[in-house]
C-alpha cells in the first residue's frame, strides 16, 4: 500500500493534529509512515497543511507531488491542492465552508458538511476528527478503532485528556457520515 494524504485548512482547524493522529495510527497498524508539517509563514493566516505518507515499505520522500488523498477544510486549501491529487485519488472537501464542487473528474470526491457534523457531535473544534473519520471510511486504509486509539495516545501525550471523548465521538460520526 502507498497512501499519501495532504490535510489542509486554516491555522487552528486542527490539520496538524489530524495528520499526527493518522501517522500514529498508521504506525500502530504496522505501516511505515512520515508526517511532514508546513511550518513556514503559511502557518500565519493562510493555509496550514501537513503531508502523511503511509506505506508497507520504508518511506523515501516525505514530500509528494501527487497525493492519493486530500482533505480540504477550507476553500484556499482546495484551490491550492486540488490540481495535485493523483488520478483515482480521494478528495474530502468541507461543504460547510466550500460552496463549489470539485473541478476534477478523475477522482472520488466527497463533500460532507464537516463543521455542521462536528457541531452535532459536540463542538466545531472536532471538525478535523470528523474529516479524519470520513477519510479512513472512504479509503479503508486503517480501522476506525486503531485511529481512535492513536487519537487517545496523542491527546494524552499532549495533556489534552479531557477532549478524548469528544474526539472519539467525532471520529465515529465522520466515519458514519460517508459510504465507501
Amino acid at each position: 500500500m502507498d497512501n499519501s494524504v495532504v490535510i489542509a485548512g486554516f491555522g487552528g482547524q486542527g490539520v496538524i493534529l489530524a495528520g499526527k493522529i493518522l501517522a500514529q495510527a498508521g504506525m500502530n497498524h504496522g505501516l511505515e509512515v512520515t508526517w511532514l508539517p508546513s511550518y513556514g509563514p503559511e502557518m500565519r493566516g493562510g493555509t496550514a497543511n501537513c503531508t502523511v505518507v503511509l506505506s508497507n515499505d520504508p518511506v523515501g520522500s516525505p514530500i509528494v507531488d501527487s497525493p492519493t488523498g486530500l482533505i480540504a477544510l477550507n476553500l484556499p486549501s482546495l484551490d491550492k491542492f486540488e490540481p495535485t491529487v493523483a488520478a483515482n485519488g480521494v478528495i474530502i472537501m468541507n461543504s460547510s465552508l466550500i460552496q463549489r464542487r470539485t473541478k476534477r473528474k478523475d477522482v472520488r470526491s466527497f463533500s460532507p458538511a464537516l463543521n455542521d457534523l462536528a457541531r452535532k457531535a459536540g463542538s466545531e473544534k472536532a471538525t478535523n476528527m470528523i474529516a479524519l473519520g470520513a477519510y479512513i471510511k472512504v479509503t479503508g486504509i486503517i480501522p476506525l478503532s486503531t485511529v481512535q486509539t492513536a487519537m487517545t495516545q496523542m491527546l494524552k501525550k499532549e495533556g489534552k485528556d479531557k477532549f478524548i471523548p469528544l474526539n472519539k465521538k467525532a471520529l465515529q460520526e465522520g466515519y458514519n457520515a460517508l459510504h465507501e
Binding site: K20, A23, V33, W35, Y39, G40, S61, I63, D65
Partner: protein, 351 residues
C-alpha cells in the same frame, strides 16, 4: 527491539544526545530547531544535568568550550544564522582539540534567509566556517532514526578524536515525524577518563587546554598534530551508502533530506526502465571521495542533487575529475526538490 515511537527529528536528536551521555547542553533558540532545545529544557534538569538557555549563540558555544575542557560530553544546537555566530568558538574547539557536538538544522540563507529546509551550509560545515587549518567531522542524517544513530556516533567520534563533530541536518528532518526506536543509553561511568581535562588538579600536575602559542614553530607542531589526526579520520571514518548502483547507468549523489527523496526517485525511474542508482555520503567530512571515484569508473553519468547552488558538487567533481559526466541540479532558498522534479532532471541525462 525497542518500542517504536513517532517523533520529530529535533526531538530524536535531543533524546539521543541525552542517551549518549550529554551532561551539559547550551543553546539559544531559533527556528527550525526549537523542539530540540525544548526537549533538552524539559529533560536535562530532570536528569540532574545542565541545561542553559544562553544569552546568545556566542555565549552558548563558549559554554560548550568550558564544559568540554572540563571533560564532560557537551552539545549545542542552532540553525544557520546562529551557527555562523558560533564559528569563532568552533575554531577554538578545533584548535584546542576539544570534543563537542554541534547540531545545525539548516535553513535557507544567506543572511537572515528564511526558516525552510536547505543544505546551503555545506561549505561552512565541511570547509571550516571558522578561521584556521581545521576540519570537523560532519555527519549528514537522512532519516529521523538515522539522526538519532548519528547523534550517538557524533559523541563517540568527538571523544575518540578530540574534535568538534557537526550533525548537519535541515529543517525538514528537524520538523518531520517518523517511527523510531531510540538508541540504548550508554553508561556515563563506563566512558574512559579524559586525562587531559581541566577538572581540578589536586594531587596531579595542572592540565592546560588552549589553542595558542606565540612561537610559530610550536604552533606549527600543534597544527601538525591536528593534520595527523585528520588523516587518521579520513582513513578510518568515511561512511556512505549505495542504493541500486550494481547495474546502474546513471547515479544520483545526494545527502540528507535530498537523498531520501532520491530513494523514491530511484523506484520511479526503475519503474520506467531507467537504471538509476543512488550514492549517499553519510560523512560529509571526510567525504567518501575514493568510493565515489570507484563508482564513477563504472557509471558514466553522476548527477548531484542538492538544496544549494552546488556546494557538495565541488567535492563530487574533485573526486570524479574527468572520469564521468557530472551534471548538477539544485534548489535554493528553502525550496525542496520534489521526486517529479528530480526525475525529470534524471531523464535529461539518462541515455
Amino acid at each position: 527491539m525497542g518500542e517504536r515511537l513517532l517523533l520529530r527529528g529535533n526531538e530524536v536528536i535531543a533524546e539521543a544526545a541525552i542517551r549518549a551521555g550529554c551532561q551539559c547542553y547550551f543553546a539559544y533558540p531559533i527556528t527550525p530547531q526549537a523542539e530540540l532545545l525544548q526537549h533538552m529544557a524539559v529533560n536535562m534538569p530532570r536528569l540532574g544535568r545542565t541545561f542553559v538557555q544562553a544569552e546568545s549563540e556566542l555565549a552558548a558555544i563558549n559554554m560548550v568550550y568550558g564544559a568540554a575542557s572540563a571533560g564532560v560530553r557537551t552539545m549545542t544546537s542552532s540553525s544557520s544564522p546562529g551557527i555562523s555566530l558560533k564559528q569563532e568558538g568552533i575554531s577554538y574547539l578545533a584548535g584546542s582539540s576539544l570534543p563537542a557536538v554541534i547540531v545545525n538544522i539548516v535553513r535557507g540563507g544567506p543572511g537572515l534567509g528564511d526558516i525552510a529546509p536547505s543544505q546551503c551550509d555545506y561549505f561552512q560545515a565541511t570547509k571550516g566556517g571558522g578561521h584556521g587549518d581545521y576540519h570537523m567531522i560532519v555527519l549528514g542524517p537522512s532519516t529521523v532514526p538515522e539522526a538519532g544513530q548519528l547523534t550517538m556516533l557524533a559523541f563517540e567520534l568527538a571523544d575518540r578524536y578530540c574534535t568538534p563533530v557537526m550533525l548537519l541536518a535541515d529543517g525538514m528532518l528537524g520538523q518531520m515525524m517518523e517511527p523510531v526506536e531510540l538508541p540504548k543509553p550508554i553508561e556515563i561511568g563506563s566512558l574512559p577518563k579524559k586525562e587531559w581535562a581541566t577538572d581540578g588538579a589536586k594531587g596531579r600536575d595542572p592540565n592546560i587546554v588552549l589553542s595558542f602559542d606565540l612561537d610559530p614553530e610550536v604552533l606549527k607542531q600543534m597544527n601538525l598534530i591536528l593534520q595527523k589526526r585528520y588523516r587518521q579520520i579520513e582513513a578510518k571514518e568515511v561512511r556512505y551508502e549505495e542504493t541500486a548502483t550494481g547495474d546502474a547507468d546513471i547515479a544520483i549523489v545526494a545527502y540528507g533530506t535530498v537523498a531520501r527523496i532520491a530513494k523514491t526517485v530511484v523506484k520511479m525511474a526503475r519503474a520506467e526502465g531507467i537504471k538509476l542508482g543512488l550514492f549517499r555520503p553519510i560523512t560529509l567530512w571526510p567525504f567518501p571521495s575514493q568510493a565515489l571515484r570507484k563508482l564513477s569508473e563504472k557509471i558514466a553519468m553522476v548527477l548531484t542533487v542538492e538544496m544549494s547552488a552546488g556546494q557538495m558538487w565541488e567535492d563530487v567533481r574533485l573526486a570524479i575529475a574527468e572520469q564521468a559526466e557530472t551534471p548538477f541540479y539544485g534548489e535554493m532558498g528553502g525550496v525542496i526538490p520534489t521526486p517529479q522534479r528530480i526525475l525529470s532532471e534524471v531523464k535529461k541525462h539518462a541515455g
